[in-house]
């Protein structure tokens, strides 16, 4: 039964082209895309942002924005051409025969409708379930996605559930009517790494159980390689390469695929492996000799940060006779101590909410700790309240590169003005010519073309904005630079370049880095030492290789296992493991 359908694809996309009308003219979002999909198979559509992968998915579902239209080609699903089918027929197929799950599950569900009711809506539309059985069916659907206590969860509103739980509800909703095709559009974006893994495992298991045809749309080559049998690699609307996962990794033909595979960090890749564009890294400047027993650059001792002290019920709540609960203060950072040496890079790793950002913001003196010491070259900076820290000489010595390059640049300042700000404030540099010379020098250091300096952030690409952010941070020659997930908003190919740039700068300028990230694979590339945090505490410290190869803490182990990387393929496929060089 499983063999027969192999010959007839359930979904066949042939020569699909999609055009978008925009103010700037017609944009060809998808160009001449073809692929077939069979039952029981998971195909990965992989590409960076703007590659047209989501447009393809929306098109199959017939929920494309009205500005877009199919210019050429066909999408044949179970014998019906979806590009010519009318809306009535399409809405019969959607949710019953073909379903879709989305990124950011918390906003993909109706915020003011109970999740059970939302599943019932779909059941009522597509099945002949009697009204009295709807609830039972909805609870069964919740149960099928391994939600515990589905009878209670039935009544929950999305805001009462975690992101991972919302994604399970999304999957329950999508599979409630037993469709034969499931499209997963970046289903793990916005979720924690460990949650990502459980969600993806769930999708895979359910797809196997129900013999679904699945399309996984993702930017993450590692994720796709772990779960998909076949891949389609897309770039600016075109499929540059398609084939089985093994073929593509063993023998990538298109230069873009090769570049993409290269740029995806693997468990054993070195920084230089990620990108072709890296020229010779400058030799590290010898650090000035320090006397024996001199204090390290940074020593954090027993750092604690607490939030929300006080009672949780307001006065009128008490008036109504609600129980007065004294809320325990929440400890975001719980007794954290670590050392960063001169010229050293330390990784601070953990999932969201583990306290890594609070720790780094406290060290950066954007937040005041509840207690503890922050010894910077022996001087306790925690004693200076962060309100007044802008005025002390140490301000220039600790700088930061922010997570989201777009959000961290003032939309009303040009790149030049963004970089000039710390120079004018902290170095008191007022002479226009002097400023300009320094900014041009910095632009050269971070590889930002000088003509881009007059542009506003919205006129720059993600990578260019990241360079502006880095130039701004190093402009006043800090000794300690905190990198707060500096590449998480960037495409992998850009990430590779930025990581290399950061390594170059460190070698040239002798700065120390604290690299805050959720991704051990990336942290490993830049850092000598890694600190793993969970629930506000440090649970493990060691060299990057030690931790990756031999994690002592079970949490660290689950974190490492959850991060998708290309090397899982190596375990599946002998030949691949023997010839790792063929990728490079």
């Amino acid at each position: 039964m499983n063999d027969a359908p192999k010959t007839v694809p359930i979904l066949s996309v042939q020569g699909l082209s999609v055009d978008f009308r925009t103010r700037a003219g017609t944009v060809h979002a998808v160009k001449d895309l073809s692929f077939d999909l069979f039952r029981g198979e998971m195909i990965g559509v992989v590409g960076e942002s703007g590659s047209g992968k989501s447009v393809t998915a929306f098109n199959i579902m017939g929920i494309l924005d009205p500005a877009g239209r199919v210019a050429k080609g066909s999408i044949v699903f179970e014998g019906l051409d979806l590009t010519t089918a009318d809306e009535g027929a399409l809405s019969e197929i959607r949710g019953r025969e073909a379903s879709m799950i989305f990124q950011n599950p918390r906003v993909a569900l109706n915020p003011i409708r109970q999740v059970g009711t939302q599943i019932e809506d779909v059941l009522r539309r597509h099945t002949n379930t009697l009204t009295k059985d709807l609830k039972k069916k909805a609870i069964e659907a919740l149960d099928a996605v391994r939600i515990r206590h589905p009878e209670q969860r039935y009544y929950a509103y999305p805001y009462e559930l975690s992101g991972g739980m919302c994604q399970r509800v999304m999957i329950a909703l999508a599979l409630a009517c037993n469709p034969s095709l499931l499209i997963a559009d970046e289903p793990t974006t916005g979720l924690d790494v460990t949650t990502q893994k459980t969600i993806m495992d769930l999708v895979r298991d359910l797809a196997r159980e129900r013999n679904l045809a699945t399309i996984l749309i993702t930017h993450d080559l590692g994720l796709a390689s772990q779960y998909c049998q076949r891949l389609v690699v897309m770039r600016s609307g075109e499929a540059v390469e398609a084939g089985t996962t093994e073929e593509i990794f063993l023998n990538p033909k298109h230069p873009y695929t090769i570049k993409l595979i290269k740029a995806t960090p693997r468990i054993d890749s070195r920084l230089e492996d990620l990108s072709d564009d890296v020229v010779e890294r400058p030799a590290a400047q010898p650090l000035p000799v320090r006397p024996e027993g001199a204090p390290p650059l940074l020593e954090v001792r027993n750092l604690v940060k607490e939030y929300g002290i006080g009672s949780s019920t307001s006065w009128f709540g008490r008036l109504l006779g609600r129980k007065v609960e004294e809320k325990k203060p929440f400890r975001a950072v719980d007794d954290v101590s670590f050392i960063v040496g001169h010229g050293e890079s330390v990784g601070l790793v953990g999932e969201s909410g583990c306290g890594k950002s609070t720790t780094s913001n406290t060290v950066t003196r954007l937040l005041d700790p509840t207690s503890g010491e922050i010894l910077f070259e022996g001087q306790d900076l925690a004693k200076i309240p962060c309100k007044g820290f802008a005025g002390v000489p140490e301000r220039r010595l600790i700088q930061m590169v922010f997570q989201d390059p777009t959000e961290s640049l003032n939309p009303r300042f040009t790149a030049w003005r963004c970089i000039a700000d710390p120079l004018m404030r902290l170095d008191g540099m007022r002479n226009k010519a002097e400023l300009d010379a320094r900014i041009r020098e910095l632009a050269g250091m971070v590889g930002l073309p000088e003509h881009l300096l007059t542009r506003f952030p919205h006129q720059l690409s993600g990578g260019q904005k990241a360079r502006v952010g880095i130039a701004r941070a190093i402009s006043v020659s800090p000794k300690l630079l905190i990198l707060d997930e500096p590449t998480s908003a960037l495409d992998v190919s850009v990430q590779a370049i930025v990581l290399n740039l950061l390594a170059d700068l460190q070698a040239r300028l002798g700065m120390s880095y604290i690299f805050v990230s959720h991704d051990l694979n990336v942290v490993r590339l830049l850092c000598d030492r890694v600190i793993v945090m969970n629930a506000g505490r440090i649970i493990e410290t060691g060299t990057a290789d030690e931790i990756l190869t031999n994690p002592r803490d079970p949490y660290t182990r689950s974190l490492i296992e959850a991060v998708p990387h290309l090397d899982v393929l190596a375990a599946n496929d002998k030949t691949f493991a023997e010839e790792p060089k063929c990728i490079a």
Partner: protein
């Protein structure tokens, strides 16, 4: 359990109205005491001598300190005493109560008219962006907020009364040849229907319709604008995409998913709309010589009858607080998230 939490929330919301009411009372009190001139001299009349002015001052409690006066004022308010109107000689509270139904009848009909047009118009405009109905909506919205309400009223009177002669003369709630219907609800249209008197019903309705349309046009604009905006925002949100990807029918997507979520910002706007309405009500009443509390206030203003004006301001403010309260309670019914995140 959820139901009880909801009830507690509504009770909490009622308690939250207390600071608003306190603020309103304090401001009204301050306004009363900020009067130019000496109220005692005014109340005593132009022929009064020093002594009788002092007596009046004492009788009004104006010789005491401000905090004492405030306590007295609160005491009067607690008994529903808003003072005596100089021009009519009647207690202000009674005057306001007598005229309130006229204003309410006008305002409520105007509200239903504008809701009846604004909601469909906004929804249609949002579902068909850049169609003719969207352009119509835009024109209506911009024109509606730009038209001075007294100007619209006069224009309608000119066209429908003077030129076409199909509307009755814009003087009051009912033509002088008709008797007022028996007072049951105070709403002439409803009372005449209850009395089975269709002629009186028609007479009062024709009197009512022009001022109601005038007021309705003014409130139409913010409602239609918000309906369109809220529907557009909701329809482009992720969960609508999910609903469409699940193949839900268009009415379900549009109403159960779209409109219900869009109701939240629309309800918020409704509060602002009531503020506009109660304000422009005064202007419309003047144009149509409508015997409501707005006309009462204008008459009082002309003869500097301050007790009446302050009573009017306080009554309007309390009415508005009550309306906002109803909106908030509706809001908690629509949105399960309210109050729980705090």
């Amino acid at each position: 359990m959820r139901g009880r939490a909801r009830l507690a929330m509504i009770a909490g919301r009622l308690l939250q109205a207390i600071p608003s009411i306190a603020g309103v009372i304090i401001v009204t009190f301050v306004l009363t005491r900020a009067l130019p001139g000496d109220p005692a001299a005014y109340f005593a009349g132009p022929t009064a001598d020093e002594q009788s002015i002092a007596e009046v001052r004492k009788a009004l409690g104006l010789d005491r300190s401000l905090p004492e006066q405030f306590v007295l004022y609160l005491g009067d308010l607690a008994q529903g005493d808003l003072g005596r109107s100089v021009s009519t000689g009647q207690p202000v509270g009674a005057e306001l109560l007598r005229r309130l139904p006229a204003s309410l009848e006008l305002t409520l009909l105007a509200l239903f008219l504008s809701l009846g047009v604004a909601l469909p118009l906004g929804i249609l405009a949002a579902t068909r962006p850049n169609s003719w109905i969207d352009h119509l909506c835009r024109v209506v919205v911009t024109a509606g907020v730009s038209l001075p309400v007294f100007f619209t009223g006069l224009f309608l009177v000119y066209v429908f009364y003077f030129l076409l002669g199909i509307a009755p003369s814009p003087l009051g709630r009912i033509d002088v040849f008709f008797l007022e219907p028996p007072d049951i609800t105070g709403f002439f249209t409803i009372d005449s229907l209850l009395a089975g008197d269709l002629e009186t019903f028609w007479a009062s309705l024709t009197q009512l319709i022009l001022p109601a349309i005038t007021l309705g046009i003014f409130t139409l604009a913010p409602l239609a604008r918000m309906t369109r905006g809220a529907m557009l925002a909701v329809l482009s949100s992720d969960f609508i995409r999910t609903a469409r990807a699940s193949g839900l029918s268009r009415p379900t997507v549009l109403f159960a998913y779209g409109l219900r979520n869009a109701m939240l910002p629309i309800l918020t706007t409704l509060g602002m709309v009531f503020s506009f309405m109660l304000g422009s009500n005064v202007l419309v009443e003047k144009v149509f010589a409508w015997p409501g509390i707005g006309s009462f206030a204008i008459e009082a203003l002309i003869v500097s009858d301050y007790a009446a004006v302050q009573g009017f301001v306080l009554a309007m403010a309390l009415l508005y607080v009550a309306l906002n309260l109803i909106i908030d309670i509706l809001y908690t019914v629509v949105d399960p998230r309210i109050g729980l995140e705090a």
